[in-house]
Structure formats: C-alpha cells, structure tokens
C-alpha cells in the first residue's frame, strides 16, 4: 500500500511496526550465522575442536580460493548443477504426464496406488548400486538417481492435488457442453498451478539429493565426488567447503522456484 496524505497515523504506525519486525528477523538470521562462524573459528584456533577434522572458516575460505585458482571447482559445480537441473526438469515433466494419465483413468490409478506408495517409501539410495550396474558410471546414472528420488512423491502429490478440485467446477464445464478433456484443460490444470509450483520447490531439493547420492557412487566429477574424494584422502577442508557450496546451491535453486511462484501469484 502506498502512503498518501489520507493515510492515518495508526496505519503508518502499523506499517512501521511491520517493517521493523521483518528487519529484526533478517538481522537475527545474519547474526546467528556470524556468531556461529566466529565461534567455529575461535574453537578451532584455541584447540577446543581439532581443526584437522572440523576445519575452520578461515581454512574453508583458503581452500575455496585455492580450488578457484585450480579452476576445477567451477567445473565440479557446473556438473552438479547441470545434472540437478536436468533431473528436476525431467521429474517435473514426467510427474505431470503421469498424474494426468492417472487422473484420466480412475481404474489405472487404483491399480497402481500400492506400487506408487511402495516406490515412494523405498529409500532411493538403495537403488543407486543397481543403477550403476544397469547404466554404468556416468551422467545418465546420476540423472536417473536424481529422478528416482523425486518422481514418485511428485506423482502422488500432483494426482492428489488434481483430485481436490471442486467437483462443482467440473460440473460447470459439463453444463457448458464440455467433455472430460475440457474439464482437465480449463479447470483441473489451471486450478492446480499453485500445487504444481509448490511441488517443484520440493522436487528441486530432492533432485539435488539424488544427484549427490549418484555422484558419491558413480562419478569422477561433481560436488558429490569432491565430498567422497575429500573424505578418502582426509582432505576435510575440501569436504566441508564442498558441503557449504552445496548449501548455497540448494538455497539458490529453492529461491529460484520461489521467485517463479511469486511471479505467478502477482500475475493472478
């Protein structure tokens, strides 16, 4: 809301209090991070924790810079990002297609329900060794691992979302002379866009999980490989740096989808 001459003092006070609240939250978040970094550095330098095992912010920073200088870091980040984005896009497409088919055929959805539930609850990391045998070690295996973690939950969530559309709205389409396809295109799909977007937020995170699992087992490049390599050669600075980069990537991807959601909400 824009402040005009007519805006009452109470309203201005309210807006001020609201802004103050949000400022406080933001500063508190940054403060916790800084406090944590200071304590970590301090504890490592004073020998409270062993900096060989636990590293320290300054060692992480040094390690990061040296990895940047070697130029290998960006190719590792690039590989992981690429695999995650491809898995995510394929999950989004495949889950939408599968949920649509299930919506069209109630019979099929009832038949497949127990299989979907089992596959969804199965720890997908158990599949990774199998995928290596089937697909070899390489980018295909890792992308499939990324897909396998997210896909079943995505299908179930989307399908459930489709079913929650008000049946009276479907009836409206029939009264206007539409068929089942019209109800899907004109009502179910547009009404489910918020569900699809919030599902995407979950999927991007899960795709990243799957990709890292895949890289642990079947890669020569990527952040997952760096983490495993770092632990095998006892380069814990490298390991922790990689994990922190992973944190940044996870947050970045999440924010990207959130922006998409904001954009959609503004439009509607």
């Amino acid at each position: 809301m824009k402040a005009t001459e007519n805006t009452s003092i109470d309203q201005l006070e309210f807006v001020k209090a609201h802004k103050k609240h949000h400022r406080f939250i933001r500063y508190a978040r940054i403060f916790i991070l800084i406090l944590f970094l200071i304590f970590w550095e301090f504890a490592a330098n004073c020998g409270i924790i062993d900096s060989f095992f636990f590293s320290s912010p300054s060692r992480v920073a040094k390690c990061f810079l040296s990895m940047v200088n070697e130029k290998s870091l960006f190719s590792h980040i690039g590989v992981t990002l690429f695999e995650t984005v491809v898995s995510f896009l394929l999950v989004s497409l495949l889950s939408l297609a599968a949920a649509t088919i299930l919506w069209y055929s109630r019979k099929l959805s009832e038949i497949l329900e127990p299989y979907l539930v089992v596959l969804n609850s199965l720890p997908k990391s158990a599949l990774a060794p199998l995928l290596i045998v089937w697909l070899g070690t390489g980018i295909n295996t890792i992308i499939v691992a990324g897909i396998s973690v997210a896909i079943f939950g995505a299908v179930i969530n989307l399908y459930t979302g489709f079913l929650q559309v008000d049946p009276e709205k479907l009836k409206l389409i029939y009264t206007l002379g539409g068929n089942r396809r019209d109800t899907f295109v004109k009502v179910v799909l547009p009404a489910s866009i918020p569900t699809i977007l919030s599902n995407m937020k979950v999927n991007i995170g899960l795709a990243l999980v799957g990709v890292i699992i895949g890289e642990f087992l079947a890669a020569r490049r990527g952040l997952g490989y760096l983490i495993i390599y770092g632990s095998q050669v006892f380069q814990l600075n490298m390991l922790i740096t990689s994990i922190l980069i992973l944190c940044a990537i996870a947050m970045g991807l999440y924010l990207l989808i959130q922006q998409l959601e904001h954009f959609y909400k503004k439009k509607v």
């Binding site: 009276e168 009836k171 409206l172 009264t175 206007l176 002379g177 004109k186 547009p190 866009i193 509607v268």
Partner: protein, 255 residues
C-alpha cells in the same frame, strides 16, 4: 396458451452406493410451456437438483422420459446456472463469460459482439479485464448469467443461484436477474427453497413431496404489480395469500 417446450413423464431416478439404493425421484410428471417461468420448491434434500441434472442430460433417467419440443423439432439449447457463480480466478471476466463459447468452439466475431453487448447492458463493460475477486456478489452473478446466456439457450435451469449471497444482496440481485431473464423471453425452471423468491418471480409454482420426489401441488401465480420497482412483486396484494398457501402445503409435507 403457449405450447409445451418440455414434458416430463413418470420420471424415476435412484442413486446407488454399497449401502443400498436411494430413490431420489419417483413417478414425477410435469410440463413446462414455452416462455414460462416455473419455480420448483420442496423440502430440502428431496431431489430438486437431480431433476435439473436430468433435464440438462448430465444424468440419465432410470425410468420415464423427458421430451423436448424445440423449434423445428430440434432439441432446444439448455443453460444451467449452478448454486455458486464458479467464476475462475485465473481468468478475467471476459475470459470467464466467453468460457462456454470457447468450449464449444463458437468464439466467432459475431458471438463476441453479442457478449460485449450483454456486458454493456448489464453494466459490466468496465470490468472486462478485471478478476472475479474484484467484483461484488451481484456483479459476479450477472457475469455468471452472461456466461450461460452467451450460448443462447432456450431453456434456463436455475439451481438456487442466489443461495450463496447474503440476504440484502440476494433480494436485489435475484429480482435483477429475474427481470433480465424475463426480458430475454427465456423459458425458466427455478429451483429454490425461498418461497418469497418462488412467488415473486414465477408464473407457476410446483411443490414437490419429500424424497422420492413427485409433484404434490401446483399453484399458478397471478400478481397485480403496484409499480415496476425491483421488489414490486412482494408488494402485490395477492403475494401473501400465495405465500401462505404454499407455506402450508410445504409444512404439511415436512411433518
């Protein structure tokens, strides 16, 4: 006397679930004349909405039949207004009112012009590009009416179309919509549980028995309107007489 446009004979319908069969309608017969405004009242849950779904062809009768007598022996077009306006928030008002035309692939320049004229007639032109949430309850109801009328139905089925509105809005909006429909010369079947609505708008009121529904009584309504204001029918001298007689028939049925 005008000719019949719709005749329902010995109509029966049941709903099925695993706990058994629920007879919704049994041996229901009535007819509707062309251009007539027919109101159907009955105890709640007596299967009133089912009748409209059967007429609209969304459900198939178990027994008996519905015969239409359209112009040139053709099946007359049927418009159906549901209890809620169901305007879609992801569409603008224009996209909402042309939804039926879009579904039936009839979005021709000529039809668009007709819809534009209706929007102008009903005072919604300025809201074409707005979202439904920006409109008042009455305006939404008009938009829903335009969406139905855009397909130029000969018979309009109204399933308690005002029940979602608050009382104050409902009084004016229902009278307003009834007037628009009358002016368009459509045949109307209105389902309602509001007796005053039935008496003030209809040419004839059918009273249904409780489930399974059949026709219990029928009242032709003739009101002498004191003026042409929106709520004139409620001021007519005959109004309370009709109201009381229908009320008695209905309370008799509910007990």
């Amino acid at each position: 006397m005008q000719s019949d446009i719709l005749k329902i004979e010995n109509l029966s319908f049941s709903y099925h679930n695993l706990n058994g069969e629920t007879k919704a309608i049994k041996d229901l017969s009535f007819h509707v004349r062309e251009g007539e405004f027919l109101a159907i009242v009955g105890p709640s849950g007596c299967g009133k909405s089912t009748i409209l779904s059967l007429i609209a062809g969304l459900l198939k009768p178990v027994e008996g039949g519905i015969t239409f007598y359209g112009k040139d022996g053709k099946q007359p077009g049927i418009g159906y207004m549901l209890q809620h306006d169901h305007l879609f928030e992801w569409r603008t008002i224009w996209q909402n009112v042309t939804l039926g035309l879009e579904i039936q692939h009839k979005l021709t320049a000529e039809n668009k012009k007709k819809v534009e004229k209706m929007l102008a007639d009903y005072g919604l032109s300025a809201f074409e590009d707005k979202k439904p949430s920006e409109l008042s309850g009455g305006m939404k109801q008009r938009a829903a009416l335009i969406r139905t009328m855009a397909l130029e139905p000969e018979i309009l089925l109204l399933d308690e179309p005002f029940s979602a509105l608050d009382y104050q809005t409902r009084l004016t909006v229902s009278a307003d919509i009834a007037r628009i429909i009358r002016k368009a010369g459509k045949t109307v079947i209105l389902i309602t549980h509001d007796l005053s609505e039935a008496v003030s708008f209809a040419d004839r009121v059918l009273i249904l028995s409780k489930r399974p529904a059949s026709v219990k009584a029928e009242f032709p309504i003739h009101l002498t309107l004191p003026d042409d204001s929106l709520l004139a029918a409620r001021k007519a001298p005959e109004y309370s007489g009709y109201f009381n007689r229908i009320w008695e028939e209905l309370s008799d049925e509910s007990n």
